[in-house]
Amino acid sequence: MGSSEDKFKRYIYVIVPIEVMLGLAYLVVCFIAIINWYLGIIGAGEILYPNYVPGDLGVSLVMLSIGFLMILSVYYWFRRKIVKSLAAIILGLGLAVAAMVMQVLVTTASWLDSIIVNEPITYEELMLGFLRADALLGYIALPLLYVSLRILKKTIITQ
Amino acid sequence: MMPLAYAREGSLVRVSAIRAGKGLYRRLHELGIVEGKILRVVKTQGPGPVIIEIVNNASYVYGRVPCPYCPIATGGRLLLGFGVAMKIMVEEVKSP
């Protein structure tokens, strides 16, 4: 396969550590989100990293899925199940981007909303929305997804 | 001979019998699942619902290098529920 094989190797040795770190990051966020949710239930007042991680079970589920898929990808790689490994990383990154897009859309929507009901929100509040953990990690995931898809197209995939 | 629900993932099987009532029998026939047909088991939650492909052997090969003899799916993919997969009896085949 010539140079595409080298590209493949390069991809693997650079991307894999990134995958692991990103996957762990997502799992950590998930964990914090669950703790925050619990703190919210018992009315504890202060939550961890309130600017970044909401106390939302749904968010924790998505973070868990993404992190799980990324770690799974590495696991499959070492088990020599290439197809499954690539599938896992594509889906993990894809879900990460989807979650990010959703968060961006929601923040934009709330900005529009503030105009409509005439309760203007501050720049800081807006930024909080765009810089929430699921969005932040998603910004990192986006270029990774693009790169992975490009490489995939050239080496393995027919469509 | 075993129910399709127990077939090995990735294997090729031949339909040996269909043990179903008339309604299901007809629907399967319509869709091309008849006795003697060869299917590839794409995915199975074994035992459980099954995704199959109806395969065929194309005879002419185009391109530079003739590829190993492998049947390709020409009948589309079908998802068969657990109940249905239990009623289709198959045998594994080595080469179609």
Binding site: I41, V62, L69, K84 | R27, E30, Y60, T74, L79, V84
Partner: protein, 685 residues
């Protein structure tokens, strides 16, 4: 027939999911007239095409797999071809589903139709790693084969040309399948008898086809033949031969079907050419994870969560836009018109405008929900979800496919019930239609938010989540009970096509979204509108006469209105066990008409605008956390809204609509009382 009057007619046939609708649009330029096939609720689409100066009528036949007498769709297609005798039948075959498509094509040829084959989606076959030699196919099968790629319009011109040509040149291939010596002998014998005794029949149907169908035991043909004076003789002869065949080759019908499939396989083998290097397709890649029973589930749940997020949170500006302009600005504006009598402006503002506002306020969420769902559907992911849940659903005697109407039901029950049509097995279909109303639709959410927010405080979110989970669990349990008691019968099984993953297509997605949103808007919408006006009427009048619009803002006046009277009698009787006061009872009563009304009725009853409602309820101490939760559960379960009931009646009949009504009220009582009972025992009161 085309004489000099320059008019021709063609039909489009094909199995489901081959791109027939798109081809229809490409041929007719999207100008179509939609109606029904006579006597049935199956949609009929007709358009026109101009080719070679001739105006051609294009009839879209329903998507079918073959031409048996076992399904309404197939009979419609068959009868159309035989009676209306279209000049050409374009059989659209998908290149990636060649076997099934060709089976239909052969069936059409045997019927004596003038067929041309449109080989669509050739680009997708290329991606899967093979090509179809259409010239070879043309020479084997004897009719024109035109490759096309519908989404980009490639090949459509050639298709139009071929149609134009075929209108004048008829190519008929009745003997396309050879059934073997024994059966062919039987066929010729019956052919002779039919030609002798009933030649007028052979003007409609080819004699060979009649013979085949008689041997297959086709109920429609047997019926038609037996109605002829000479019918008995023909049928006896056919039965005689059937018996003989049974001994020699087994069931004739199965044999004939199998032989036809064999012929298809032979043809496919000759015309398909595979690429030299086998590669992995994207679909296989993604499916290796998405259909994995462990890994696929968290992904599916996440996807559904994101869908809900999209529907509820991204649509907020639109919702508030509606609220501010209609329920706020317009409403207040009308009330300021002092030149009209007070009761009239109140009717306009609090009745009519409020009614329209009530519908439109839900519209964005529902539209967004269906939009997201349609995208997931078009990509092909929903089929995988059905696969994942099938194992679980099977334990409840339901097909995995039933998960789709349930998810749609989370948006609005009305299209949810309608979506149950997609389930083939009759018993399973009826069961699914009856449990779809248990899905916690969008209209119930405001009730949860207001009551939960007011009484349950921080636990509200969790409580709401638990209600959604409860709705699924109840749907499954009730489904099982219905399957065991009422709709018994081993399921004929769950079979679903698994299309390759594709980029979602804008036209498909918009059509699907609009179809479902339309149901909400027009069916549920009219009911909601009427209900709001009725509530208004019953609030401003009472046994003592007209009370005036002040009643809408004054809790003491409201007690004297019909609404108040009704509420007090309800709460002191049937709702007394649950400890809900008369205002809650009235809201429930109106919720029967449309669950969207519950919150707005409560607002009227407490005499406040909806923004202040939460605080007022919290202060009034009419609920304890336990009774509040029980109330929310009751709203979840009790009676399908009127529009949903109408849909159930439409799909299943009056009997089952009444059944749905009764079982849901009973279930709602049982669950609410249990919640209160168990809660009290656990010390929650």
């Amino acid at each position: 027939m085309t004489n000099e009057d320059k008019r021709a007619r063609i039909a489009l046939a094909g199995i489901p999911n081959v791109g027939k609708s798109l081809i229809f649009n490409r041929l007719t330029g999207g100008r179509a007239w939609v109606g029904n096939w006579p006597g049935v609720t199956v949609e009929k689409k007709v358009g026109t095409l101009r080719v070679n100066g001739v105006e051609v009528e294009v009839v879209d036949l329903p998507g079918i797999y073959s031409l048996t007498a076992y399904s309404v769709d197939e009979l419609i297609a068959r009868n159309f071809i035989v009676e209306e005798k279209p000049d050409v039948v374009v059989c659209i075959v998908s290149a990636i589903n060649l076997e099934r498509g060709l089976y239909l094509a052969l069936s059409l040829l045997e019927l004596g139709a003038n067929v041309i084959i449109d080989l669509n989606m050739v680009d997708l076959a290329e991606k899967e790693g093979y090509r179809i030699n259409h010239k070879k196919l043309e020479s084997i099968i004897g009719v024109p084969v035109i490759p096309t790629i519908a989404p980009i319009g490639r090949g459509i011109d050639k298709l139009k040309e071929a149609i134009g040509k075929a209108i004048h040149e008829e190519k008929v291939q009745i003997r396309i399948v050879d059934y073997g010596r024994i059966v062919e002998e039987a066929i010729s014998k019956i052919e002779e008898v039919v030609k002798d005794l009933a030649p007028e029949l052979t003007e409609k149907y080819p004699a060979r086809w009649i013979a085949l169908k008689l041997l297959e035991g086709d109920s429609d043909i047997i019926d038609k033949v037996s109605k002829l004076p000479v019918g008995k003789e023909i049928i006896d002869k056919a039965n005689q031969l059937r018996e003989i065949l049974k001994e020699k080759i087994g069931d004739p019908e199965s044999y004939i079907v199998e032989r036809r499939h064999e012929r298809v396989s032979e043809i496919v083998k000759t015309v398909v050419e595979r690429a030299a290097v086998p590669r992995v397709s994207m679909t296989d890649l993604l499916d290796s994870i998405l259909t994995h029973k462990v890994v696929g589930i968290p992904f599916a749940l996440s996807a559904i969560y994101l869908l809900f997020r999209f529907a509820f949170e991204v649509s907020t500006p639109l919702v508030d836009l509606v609220d501010v302009t209609i329920n706020g600005y317009l409403h207040d504006l009308v009330l300021e018109i002092h030149s009209l009598p007070e009761w009239f402006t109140s009717l306009l503002a609090d009745g009519i405008i409020a009614g329209i506002g009530a519908i439109l306020v839900f519209l964005p969420v529902i539209a967004f929900f269906f939009l997201g769902f349609a995208v997931l559907e078009d990509v092909g992911y929903m089929a995988r979800v059905a696969f994942l849940v099938d194992r679980v659903f099977h334990k409840f005697n339901l097909p995995g496919k039933a998960v789709i109407p349930l998810i749609i039901g989370f948006g609005c029950n009305v299209p949810g019930v309608m979506a149950a049509r997609g389930i083939e097995d009759e018993n399973e279909r009826k069961t699914t239609a009856l449990i779809a109303p248990l899905a916690s639709c969008n209209a119930r959410l405001p009730v949860y938010l207001v009551i939960g927010g007011a009484i349950l405080g921080t636990m509200a979110g969790f409580a709401i989540l638990s209600l959604y989970v409860l709705s699924i669990i109840l749907a499954l349990i009730v489904g099982l009970l219905l399957r065991r008691i009422l709709f018994k019968g081993a399921s004929t099984g769950f079979i679903m096509e698994l299309p390759p993953y594709m980029m979602p297509r804008l036209d498909n997605v918009t059509i699907k979204t609009w179809e479902r949103t339309k149901r909400f808007l027009f069916k549920a919408g009219t009911v909601i509108f009427l209900a709001t006006v009725i509530v208004w009427l019953l609030s401003v009048t009472g046994p003592g006469g007209y009370l005036g619009p002040e009643a809408l803002e004054d809790p003491h006046l409201i007690r004297e209105s019909w609404v108040g009277v009704l509420g007090r009698s309800l709460s002191s009787t049937i709702f007394s066990l649950m400890g809900w006061d008369w205002k809650a009872a009235v809201a429930l009563f109106f919720g029967f008409i449309a669950k969207e009304i519950v919150v707005s009725s409560m607002a009227i009853l407490y005499g406040v605008g909806e923004e202040k409602l939460m605080d007022v309820i919290a202060e009034s101490q009419t609920f304890t956390p336990l009774t509040a939760y029980a109330y929310m559960a009751f709203v979840l379960i009790y009676v399908p809204c009127l529009a949903t009931l109408a849909m159930i009646r439409n799909e299943l009949g009056l009997k089952y609509a009444i059944l749905a009504l009764i079982y849901e009220i009973l279930l709602a009582y049982i669950v609410s009382l249990s919640i209160i009972g168990i809660g009290s025992v656990l010390g929650f009161s």
